[in-house]
């Protein structure tokens, strides 16, 4: 094959950019899911703390 370094270089650019884009999308999606998950856990922890608080207040008043 003639011009082999040029052909390899051009196809490598094509493959690398497509792969970088796919990996970038996957990482962004993973980060968004993790963020949503930690937010969900924080919300649940806050809710259970609020539920426990009235019981504690009643106990202290007694």
């Amino acid at each position: 094959m003639t011009h082999l370094p040029f052909v390899i270089g051009a196809y490598a650019v094509f493959v690398l950019v497509l792969l970088a884009d796919a990996i970038g999308s996957w990482l962004r999606l993973r980060a968004a899911r993790r963020q949503a998950q930690s937010r969900q856990q924080r919300q649940q922890a806050r809710q259970s703390a609020q539920q426990a608080a009235p019981a504690l207040t009643a106990e202290l008043e007694r």
Binding site: M1, T2, H3, L4, F6, V7, G9, A10, Y11, V13, F14, V17, L18, A20, D21, A22, G24, S25, W26, R28, L29, A31, A32, R33, Q35, A36, Q37, R39, Q40, Q43
Partner: protein
């Protein structure tokens, strides 16, 4: 209501879009792989060398589909941005902004592969040829849209500002398309036509269509994955996001 119209309306809802994007981004990525592999195999190993450029012409099979995609993606981004501005549809804002990174990627491929091809055939990496210069301006526009979207804290205001830039930027597309006819330069005139006769041999054109379809599928997968991530970011804290994250713990 017409079922198709109703489906479009439902798709505007963030939870429905999330389900749709989760399924179809994967389908498009998986569909793109065999199509691109067939295209690459034909482009590199099946098609005979061209009479004058010999094997360096094989760069055409990645350069031309990427160039077409760089224009198509920008037009699509501007269309989504216009819909978002007129009808205030949040998912269209998200889709418009999800188009920009992949569009910039295709423009970068076009410029780099064109530069490599130019060195092999014209003897120069770069020339301020009208087609090359206008394509470089397109890359700057994509980067401008991405930069503007990330520079403003409020997501909706950011998407509106960046969308407006995309709509204004559409005026560059005919300049890129007709630059060779208007000003000449190193690039040759159009030799491949989607609907009419092409100037290149039919034996050499098959891989090009495989690559054109493959890049479209890849783009569809990419844009849906990015839009899904942005949608989850914007909707974080809503009940459906929590349910969805718990449903699929990966």
């Amino acid at each position: 209501m017409n079922p198709i119209v109703r489906w479009f309306h439902q798709l505007g809802s963030p939870p429905t879009f999330d389900r749709f994007a989760a399924r179809w981004s994967r389908v498009f990525y998986i569909a793109a792989l065999p199509v691109l592999l067939v295209g690459l195999w034909q482009a590199l190993l099946v098609v005979p060398p061209e009479a004058r450029q010999l094997d360096s012409f094989r760069i055409l099979y990645i350069h031309v589909p990427s160039a077409w995609m760089s224009l198509f993606v920008f037009a699509l981004m501007a269309l989504y941005a216009a819909i978002a501005l007129i009808w205030r549809i949040k998912i269209c804002e998200i889709l418009a902004m999800a188009c920009a990174p992949m569009g910039a990627g295709f423009t970068l491929i076009t410029l780099l592969t064109g530069s490599i091809w130019g060195k092999g055939t014209w003897g120069t990496w770069w020339d301020w040829d009208p087609r090359m210069t206008s394509e470089l301006v397109l890359l700057f526009l994509y980067l401008g849209v991405i930069g503007l979207y990330h520079a403003i804290e409020d997501r909706r205001s950011a998407a509106r500002a960046a969308g407006l830039l995309a709509i204004v930027g559409v005026s560059l597309l005919p300049v890129i398309r007709y630059s060779v006819d208007w000003w000449g330069g190193l690039h040759q005139r159009q030799s491949i036509s989607v609907f009419g006769d092409s100037a290149i041999s039919s034996a050499m054109i098959a891989p090009l269509w495989w690559m054109v379809i493959g890049t479209k599928f890849w783009f569809a997968g990419s844009v849906l994955a990015k839009a899904r991530a942005d949608n989850l970011d914007r909707e974080a804290g809503k009940a459906w996001v929590g349910e969805r994250v718990e449903e699929t713990p990966r």
